[in-house]
């Protein structure tokens, strides 16, 4: 689960990482009020779960409350890479002397947390990695050893931070960031930029924070922060229904059991010249009810013209899936959708028979995955 800047900063605050005071606002009036309460110049920042908001005009300096209100008006409703700005963060403006970069990520390859630090902050870290790799310090942590003070020293001295007070402040932030990473089950904690003010104070000016979905159960407060209003409405609906669904941009609705088979089915639909409308995993169980839910989700997408069921039964039983399809035909208005069904594995034969017996005109059985994909693509035309 990706967090908004203001949420990430709240977690930074909990572990002691210095951040600027600020308030969340959803209207220009709230922005004015926030600027009044903060006093002095403020920054109005679009809260969106995508990069490049600065270039898109989503971050603006405001000199006074009236200006904050005006800037908020500009930013609210902006479309940034398809994300419409609904929330803004108003914080005290900071003078910036230097911009650094600090992050800790869950490095799947090394199976260790990875710290990255550079004094060349403020730009994309990939750019630093490419253009001046020597300026980027990368350091893995052994998860059982945990944080030790030398880690911070390696980053700070490795990055050639020269001012002793800065060294000390950054070292403290490194330790706090690791604590946030572990305590909040993060997959990523990034501070870019980590700024040094003219007064020599080091603080986090931005926050990028991703929390492991599998660990949300032990962070109920963070789980509640999920913002469904900003997500794709069909994906939100899928989440509510407990359906694993990712929207794509085509017209062939795809359902499969299992993530791997689902991805493969989407690929095969594309391979035979079609355009998959979605990825949808019925999961290991594949109950009739689950099938109904999945079909309800998929058909919310107005682009969908045909539907391809690709089921290889293991735990999932073909007869159960067949019953689910028939139930959906009764409960939902599915008459416009040709449904191609390929059933294999556990109880596949029974399933095929159930569908055949039902005699529904829009159900098209196919023998193989490849044939099913071809048929579904054809029927979407």
């Amino acid at each position: 689960m990706d967090l908004y800047e203001y949420q990430g900063k709240e977690l930074f605050r909990r572990v002691g990482i210095p951040v600027s005071d600020g308030f969340l606002a959803t209207t220009p009036e709230e922005a004015r009020k926030a600027a009044e309460d903060l006093g002095g110049p403020v920054v109005v920042k679009a809260q969106v779960l995508t990069g490049g908001r600065g270039k898109a005009g989503g971050v603006k300096l405001a000199t006074d409350p009236a200006d904050a209100e005006a800037k908020a008006k500009d930013i609210l409703g902006l479309d940034i890479n398809g994300h419409v700005v609904q929330k803004i963060w108003i914080e005290k403006a900071s003078d910036i002397e230097r911009e650094y970069y600090l992050s800790v990520t869950f490095d799947r390859g090394a199976k260790k947390p990875l710290f990255m630090f550079t004094t060349q902050g403020g730009v994309e870290i990939e750019q630093v990695a490419e253009e001046s790799p020597d300026a980027l310090v990368r350091l893995h942590i052994d998860p059982l050893e945990g944080f030790q003070p030398w880690v911070a020293r390696r980053l700070v001295y490795g990055g050639a931070v020269e001012d002793p007070s800065e060294q000390k402040q950054i070292a403290a932030i490194v330790e706090q960031l690791y604590r946030a990473f572990v305590e909040f089950d993060a997959m990523l904690c990034e501070i870019n930029p980590l700024v040094v003010t003219p007064e020599g104070e080091v603080k986090a000016l931005d926050a990028k924070f991703t929390v492991d979905d599998s660990a949300l159960a032990r962070h109920p407060d963070i789980a509640e922060w999920r913002d469904t209003s900003a997500a794709d409405p069909i994906e939100t609906f899928a989440r509510e229904k407990g359906v694993t669904y990712v929207k794509l941009d085509g017209d062939v609705g795809v359902l499969a059991n299992g993530a791997g088979l689902g991805m493969s089915t989407v690929d095969v639909v594309a391979h035979v010249g079609g355009r998959p409308a979605n990825f949808c995993d019925l999961g290991g169980g594949g109950s009739a009810e689950g099938v109904v839910d999945a079909l309800e989700v998929i058909t919310r997408d107005p682009q969908v013209k045909s539907i391809f069921f690709n089921i290889f039964g293991g735990i999932t039983r073909g007869d159960e899936v067949a019953r689910g399809i028939l139930a959906a035909l009764e409960q939902l208005d599915m008459s416009d959708y040709p449904i191609v069904v390929r059933l294999d594995g556990t109880n596949a034969e029974e399933g095929r028979k159930i569908l055949a017996d039902a005699g529904q005109a829009n159900i098209h059985p196919e023998e193989t995955m490849l044939d099913g994909a071809r048929r579904a693509v054809e029927l979407a035309k």
């Binding site: 869950f106 799947r108 390859g109 998860p143 299992g258 995993d281 556990t346």
Partner: protein, 289 residues
Amino acid sequence: MAIIVDNDTRLVVAGLTGSEGRFHGLRNRAYGTNLVAGVTPGKGGQDVEGVPVFDTVADAVSKAGANTSLIFVPARFAVDAIYEAVDAGIHTVICITEHIAAHDMLRAYTYFRGKDVTMIGPNCPGVLSPGKANAGIIPAEIFSEGSVGLVSRSGTLTYQIGHELTQLELGNSTIVGIGGDPVVGSSFIDVIAKFEADPQTELIVLVGEIGGDEEEKAAAYVAEHVTKPVLAYIAGFSAPPGKTMGHAGAIISGSSGTAAGKKEALEARGIEVGTTPTEVAQMVAARLK
């Protein structure tokens, strides 16, 4: 021969008295797997259709001679079950459970990695050596005994490919589902190394998917250390970046972890990559003829 599970496997199922553990444990037994014990705290002394249940894995080891643990307990208890198995002297741990917190698994991984333990999973379908033993939820009837080693991050996709192989009258030495989580106990490389050493295995099929760089690493490993032919399939060419595709680990981050990138890395090392499951099966058949 075969790898990881075979006729020497003495299985203990953690969570045998739960509905999933019971269903699959007994199915594994029905297949011929030597299921010697179950473990459910507080239910020691009971039995499940004749299989003795113990309170602790240590008891299952000392009293029933268990050497392989199959874990079906819910996510919040699963890492504890892994530690318990390893510390009770179990050398093969297969964890089916999904939704284990990544940090928990990271610590557990680092812990047992230094020990003489083979762990498969979590969030995996298990391991099947056709004709010998099945530990997990793989539908064994799809597969037949043979010489193709199959290792995959996905369950049902593996069944699909196994099914296509069976249609072509090709069998498997062992089918290993390594799991779809960000941190899994055994990587492609770990399993491929076992297949390379296994006399029964003549050819290896790697079934990968988007996310991480295990396929890329496996490609480099194969080029350097593997003498047997290796073929591959990758799922997720149409996956958009930043979206988790069902498996927690199946996500393209920025430009890394794409299917195209993996295919390229594999082919650069001389590993052929099939475009569809059907094509992969045909490639295997061509190689083995």
